[in-house]
Symmetry: C2
Subunit: 236 residues, 2 copies
């Protein structure tokens, strides 16, 4: 999954990978929504009302242990679907779904997804494989968060985000990033400063720009490549 070019229409990859027949059937059930940066789509314990198929938006899945202990465990962009619990037969969320990249998405009611999952079309098969990709992503990130220094993890995170948006710039405060990486805000300042000094990114007041993707890939640990490969497998 490489970054999309500007002006190219972006569509969710799961939906795009459906056979025409299935897509036709689902289209009337899908409702386009604009996701706003910072929106919380669901909280642990909530009953899922909808599932979301991001186009150029990004939804972060956060585990909340205590109030201060927030950690992103998964990132969902156009390669996936948020609200997987519904598909897995559990209607309640265990994580927080936070809009981390504003943009558009298609959504479907939980009831529709359940019906579709039971119907045996192409979607459930795809979602199974997507579930595996997400499992891999979460596992690899877990190990990464355990072993790798903040700088490398930040680079990985920026690359994963870059893959899911359109263009090279996005909105992002360090405070926010600290929750994604599970570190202090000051830790992000240092790490981001280092990347900026290397001319890999430019960063200013909640706005970030990727300057040197190849450089970021070098700065990141190989966890990025592992996770990416898993998603590339998914819809090809």
């Amino acid at each position: 999954m490489s970054p999309a070019k500007k002006d190219e229409p972006v569509m969710n990859r799961l939906l795009a990978a459906l056979p025409k027949k299935d897509r036709q059937r689902l289209l009337p059930e899908l409702e386009p929504v604009a996701l706003i940066f910072g929106d919380i789509l669901f909280e642990p314990g909530d009953r899922h009302q909808h599932v979301y198929f991001p186009d150029d938006s990004i939804i972060s899945l956060l585990a909340a242990v205590e109030d201060r202990e927030l950690l992103e465990v998964g990132m969902v962009g156009r390669e996936g679907m948020a609200g997987l619990a519904v598909f897995l037969g559990v209607n309640e969320s265990r994580s927080r779904g936070l809009v981390q990249g504003a943009g558009s998405a298609m959504r479907m009611t939980a009831a529709t997804l359940r019906r579709e999952a039971a119907g045996g079309g192409a979607l459930p098969k795809l979602l199974l494989r997507y579930t595996h990709s997400l499992l891999t992503q979460i596992s690899q990130s877990a190990a990464c968060n355990r072993f790798h220094p903040v700088n490398a993890r930040l680079a990985r995170w920026l690359l994963m985000t870059h893959d899911r948006i359109v263009g090279d710039e996005f909105r992002l405060t360090q405070e926010f990033l600290s929750h994604m990486l599970g570190v202090r805000r000051e830790g992000v300042t240092l790490a981001a400063g280092a990347l900026q000094k290397q001319q890999l990114i430019s960063y200013s007041r909640g706005h970030i720009k990727i300057l040197d993707r190849a450089g970021l890939e070098a700065a990141s640990c190989k966890c990025y490549a592992v996770i990416k490969a898993e998603y590339d497998n998914l819809t090809e």
Copy 2:
């Protein structure tokens, strides 16, 4: 899921939760196997030959980043199945499956599981829900590993293991534990020493005994309760 009593026959919970009809059909396909401590059932990149339904054995799922960077991301005991990738339509493993607790398990060929998954019986539904439990376990552990001190994580790990075995004693070196928790061996020595000083466990040369379960629960972070609740939901 509470610890099983001695002399009580232990059966894998997923299999036990199947309606009689499904269980009857599957029984001839299931082969009992004795799992040996330290056995590696699969490595990243391996094609899954079998899936495993542990009875009183435990299989650890490890993520390996580098050789020295091993981390348990999931633990599979009688509440689950190892080899979930097969069910998810990906026949290749992404993790290492290591026998962490010797004991018996039932296994089934990957081909049989695929057939069964396509057949629409009760098993696929159960496996979907189990997948959700595992996702929750991995996510919660990820956050736990990020935020909580070694002592609490060790207590959590011991409790999770205790829940999956028969009796109060098991085999376990500190070297081994260090890979489970993703810390140094010396770190385990300290943490285990602390628990032993509190009379919660006794520990000697690769052999550990749970002395005070309630005490361990107090010493653990609440991640233990979160994960346990998820599994208790699964088959009731």
